[in-house]
């Protein structure tokens, strides 16, 4: 534990990361693991596009295609996009509100390790008889019928990682409500904090339905229940409801933080405060609220009836209004500003038109009778990739460049960043724009191949070429990360020079206690206000004193490991529907749960008061000494 870089052995570093409860280190863990899964999901995407490059292709067989397609979606949503966003939330939000850490640092670590083991478990399916193959939506009739353990990896993996997500969401809610520095009223919070807050509320309300859904599905497949088995009086439509009551808010869980990131980047590089701050906040809340009112638009063709379809059509259209407010506010933030083109700003500029296209095709699909045509075709594939890549991935890439200095103390190469952006932007539109037309021309989604003579050849070829461009862009980004780390050229506190919020007022990377003295917040864009008054530091809200810090702990790792072990036991229990139950199934399930609950017991029984950093050490720290 040190604020300055100290050479440490590899073992010590690994142990530090295994036990850390520091939100900044957990951010590194999320970014690293999420980045790994992003590459994995990207390779899966490439396989999909290679397979669909030409008709009747047999690069992968049909079963493998379904597994790759399922894992691409599941990985990208649950294991890449969300964790990477959590990385930036962890790295930035506590500092943005002037806190020394999140409300529950221990839970923060637990959230990460649950996600980590859930993701690992899910991906081990590749080596243990095949991955899930029923799509990321895993509709019950198909998923119940799926052979092998693929779907079990899905239900168990998502339960474990889902707990992690839920815990992290609750943690951010508690942090943002309780840990704000003096003066940081809700209406002075930076937009990224606001969107994190709303996204966390959505996690709190949206993840339980998913957990229940996969829990019931797990019981159907592993323990002989019949919740979704129609022949036994079950119902599969209820799965669709469970899934989409989660699934639609999930889109906003992903895209709201991305909105927040752009709401930080655009004012920074326009050197102008966010236009219409309060309406931006209002729009965020409204999107979050409406996000729960529209799930059935994923089910227009399920046969819910005309009244339901009409109501959900109109509710869905309504979301376009707050989203439109946001777009115009961003444009007006730039209007009259002094726009500096940097890599993060380029992504923001690329995001606006891309996301608008994704948004308007969303409204088109809200037109229920029109959606009867568009649903489950390549049109919808194009639509949600415009939203998810044009919105979320652009946001993630922008934040990677924007917050890299704050997270690692170095700055990614701008030159390589331009190349990555250009290739990625062109590749993205090349891949997905044409897919709107493929869908309209009659190509269903999730097809392992297409037959010749249907007029679909050219579009698919163009789409596949675009995917290659995106792959090259990501490789250059990786190269950029490696080169930057090797060069290790340190930057100052405010490397973009126009930073507005508090994270830019403290060192890059920040000391582990963030603020020596809790800052006093005197308005929106706290750091900008101080800078404009010629100050070099934030105004402190308290005299220099001892800082109370939490101790590191290996317990979160073991709580999560226990569930990982238990999941194997559950999967191979003698009752499972695949029929390959093992005698060790039940014992392993019990041992795994024993590890988890035992670890929790240890945590409960042992007093852990944390420790204090003394005032004298903090003063020492100023002179280049070290604390801890």
């Amino acid at each position: 534990m040190s604020s300055v870089a100290v050479k440490k052995g590899l073992g010590a570093s690994v142990w530090e990361y295994l036990t850390t409860v520091d939100h900044k280190k957990i951010a590194h863990l999320y970014l690293g693991t999420g980045g790994f899964f992003f590459l994995l999901g990207g390779i899966e995407a490439l396989f999909i596009r290679i397979q669909l490059m030409k008709p009747n292709n047999n690069f992968v067989n049909e079963q493998l295609f379904n597994e790759i397609m399922t894992m691409h979606g599941t990985t990208m949503i649950f294991l890449a996009a969300m964790p990477i966003l959590f990385a930036f939330m962890n790295a930035v939000v506590p500092i943005q509100i002037g806190a020394r850490d999140v409300a529950f640092p221990f839970l923060n670590a637990l959230g990460f390790w649950l996600f980590f083991f859930g993701g690992m478990f899910l991906n081990l399916s590749w080596f243990l008889g095949g991955a899930p193959d029923a799509g990321w939506t895993s509709y019950a009739s198909l998923s119940l019928r799926s052979e092998g353990h693929g779907i079990d990896f899905y239900t168990l993996g998502l339960q474990i990682s889902g707990f992690g997500t839920l815990i992290s969401g609750i943690n951010f809610l508690a942090t943002i409500i309780n840990m704000r520095a003096p003066g940081m009223s809700f209406m002075r919070m930076p937009l990224f904090t606001w969107t994190t807050f709303i996204a966390s509320a959505l996690i709190l309300l949206a993840f339980p339905p998913l957990t229940i859904g996969v829990f019931l599905l797990m019981f159907d497949r592993l323990f002989g229940s019949n919740f979704f088995d129609v022949t036994m009086g079950g119902n599969t439509i209820i799965w669709e409801h469970f899934f989409w009551i989660f699934g639609h808010p999930e889109v906003y869980i992903l895209v709201l933080p991305a909105f927040g990131i752009f709401s930080e980047i655009i004012p920074t590089f326009s050197r102008k405060r966010l236009f219409g701050y309060s309406s931006m906040v209002f729009a965020t809340v409204l999107i979050g609220f409406l996000g729960f009112m529209v799930w059935a638009h994923h089910m227009f063709t399920t046969g819910l009836g005309n009244v339901a379809n009409a109501i959900f059509a109109i509710a869905t259209m309504a979301i376009a209004v707050p989203t439109g407010i946001k777009i115009f506010n961003w444009l007006l933030t730039m209007w009259g500003g002094s726009i500096k083109i940097t890599v993060p700003m380029l992504y923001a500029l690329g995001f606006i038109p891309s996301f608008v296209i994704g948004g308007v095709t969303g409204v088109m699909q809200a037109v229920a009778p029109l959606d009867y045509q568009l649903h489950d075709t390549y049109f919808i594939v194009a639509h949600f990739h415009y939203v998810i890549i044009g919105g979320v991935v652009f946001g993630i890439l922008a934040a990677t460049h924007f917050y890299w200095p704050k997270m690692f103390g170095t700055k990614l190469s701008e030159k390589m960043g331009y190349v990555t952006f250009t290739l990625f932007f062109i590749g993205f539109h090349c891949t997905f724009f044409i897919q709107h037309f493929l869908g309209l021309m009659g190509m269903p989604r999730r097809v392992a191949t297409f037959l010749p003579g249907q007029g679909l050849e050219l579009g698919n070829l163009i789409s596949s070429i675009g995917a290659m461009l995106m792959a090259v862009a990501v490789i250059i980004l990786l190269f950029n990360v490696v080169i930057t780390s090797i060069r290790n050229k340190k930057v100052g506190a405010d490397p973009w020079e126009d930073g507005r919020t508090m994270e830019w007022a403290i060192a890059s990377p920040p000391p582990f206690y963030n603020f020596k003295q809790t800052p006093l917040v005197r308005g929106l864009d706290t750091w900008w206000l101080e800078k404009m008054e010629g100050k070099k530091e934030l105004t402190p809200a308290e005299p220099l004193g001892d800082i109370h810090m939490p101790n590191n702990s290996i317990i979160p790792f073991f709580i999560s490991l226990g569930l990982f072990v238990a999941a194997f036991g559950a999967m191979y229990n003698p009752l499972n529907s695949v029929g390959d139950g093992k005698s060790w199934g039940l014992p392993v399930l019990i041992i795994g749960l024993g590890i988890t609950f035992g670890s929790m017991l240890i945590r409960s029984l042992r007093d852990d008061f944390g420790y204090h950093i003394h005032k004298e050490d903090l003063l020492e720290d100023d002179k280049g000494g070290k604390v801890g």
Binding site: Y139, L142, V230, R271, T302, W335, G337, Q373, R445
Partner: protein
């Protein structure tokens, strides 16, 4: 207003021109074959026009911002005015989208109720006979069954419908969820395992001619490894031709007896291998649907494809019978057969001779 309307209709025209070039008449939603698909295409045009308008406004502001407000040389230290916001602008960009969406919601709701209207499905004439044609569609792992309950006909893979009238469908699935979609004729409807869905489609005579009287149908819901191969075809013929076909099918109470020796031999192979246990060879299969576990082969001689996807010829038929797993992995027939070349020849001859009409 007139000016604005003019611009809108110009956009409309432009879109029509661009989109009309897209896709094949037997498959594309952009080349509607009847009332339902036309309604949906009109909604596509209306919504696209409004959305293109929105995009234009955004792009114009975007470009102005990008060209006018870039940081210029010598302005490195300039701090622009920190504008808080503008109530007037906020109201404008809240109210205008609401108005646009309201104008879009009117045709949306109207079309939802129009296309979802299946009241006439059960309308009967004075003799108590149903007036409209109703087809029960049953989706199975990688094949489709089409039952005409009022005509007492069952067929599969090739749906035959009369043109220029509403054809009503009862839709369900017998194993996993599928989705019934004839893109050129109209949007899809899921075939659930839990319940029956109902909707209708219309096929115009003129459009059917353009498409060679054969529309492509697809399964639109992921249903397993051969989801991509779960195609069917729709033969849209005039009412007279349809009646002829229906009469011929109704007469097909007994199996069409093979004439050539080879075909007779094929019939024996068919029976010896117990194919008949699953595949009916007459259109009046009286067994309950749970017993109808494979496509009905009556009139197989007039099929347009082998297994819904392969070109209809002897070679493909033989290859399919011998090794179905190769063409439709995960299908419920069998992985591969071990038939001799002679047996295959005979089977093909027999099956391709199953015709209710020439």
């Amino acid at each position: 207003m007139g000016m604005k309307f003019g611009r809108l209709s110009f956009l409309f025209l432009l879109l029509t021109l661009v989109l009309a070039g897209c896709g094949e008449p037997f498959l594309s939603t952009l080349k509607p074959a009847g009332e339902v698909a036309e309604t949906q295409l009109t909604l596509l045009f209306i919504s696209t026009s409004i959305m293109v308008l929105v995009i234009l406004v955004v792009v114009i502001i975007y470009l102005i911002v990008l060209f006018r407000f870039r940081r210029k040389k010598g302005e490195e230290n300039k701090i622009p005015k920190q504008v808080e916001g503008s109530h007037k602008l906020e109201i404008i960009w809240t109210v205008i989208p609401i108005l646009l969406l309201l104008s879009l919601s009117v045709p949306t709701i109207a079309a939802t109720f129009k296309l979802g209207d299946v009241k006439d499905m059960d309308k009967v004439d004075k003799d108590g006979n149903r007036e409209a044609l109703v087809v029960n569609v049953r989706a199975n792992l990688y094949w489709w069954e089409f039952e005409y309950p009022d005509l007492g006909i069952i067929t599969s893979q090739d749906l035959v419908v009369p043109t220029d009238e509403k054809v009503y469908f009862n839709l369900k699935a017998s194993d996993v969820k599928h989705s019934f979609w004839v893109p050129a004729a109209g949007g899809k409807m899921d075939t659930n395992t839990d319940n029956e869905n109902k909707f209708y489609l219309v096929f115009d005579k003129e459009k059917a001619d353009e498409a060679g009287n054969l529309f492509y149908g697809k399964c639109a819901e992921l249903c397993g490894p051969s989801h991509a191969y779960m195609d069917f075809k729709v033969k849209a013929v005039s009412r007279d031709e349809f009646n002829q076909w229906a009469t011929a099918m109704q007469k097909n109470k007994e199996e069409v007896q093979p004439t050539s020796d080879l075909a007779k031999q094929g019939q024996e192979v068919f029976q010896a291998n117990n194919c008949i246990a699953c595949h009916a060879v007459t259109a009046n299969d009286a067994r309950p649907e749970t017993a109808r576990t494979a496509p009905n082969l009556a009139d197989f001689g007039n099929r347009t494809r082998v297994a819904g996807i392969l070109e209809y010829n002897e070679e493909n038929l033989k290859a399919w019978i011998q090794n179905p797993e190769k063409f439709k992995p995960g299908n419920q027939m069998y992985k591969e057969a071990n038939l001799s070349e002679e047996e295959l020849d005979a089977l093909a001859e027999y099956l391709m001779g199953l015709k209710v009409q020439e």
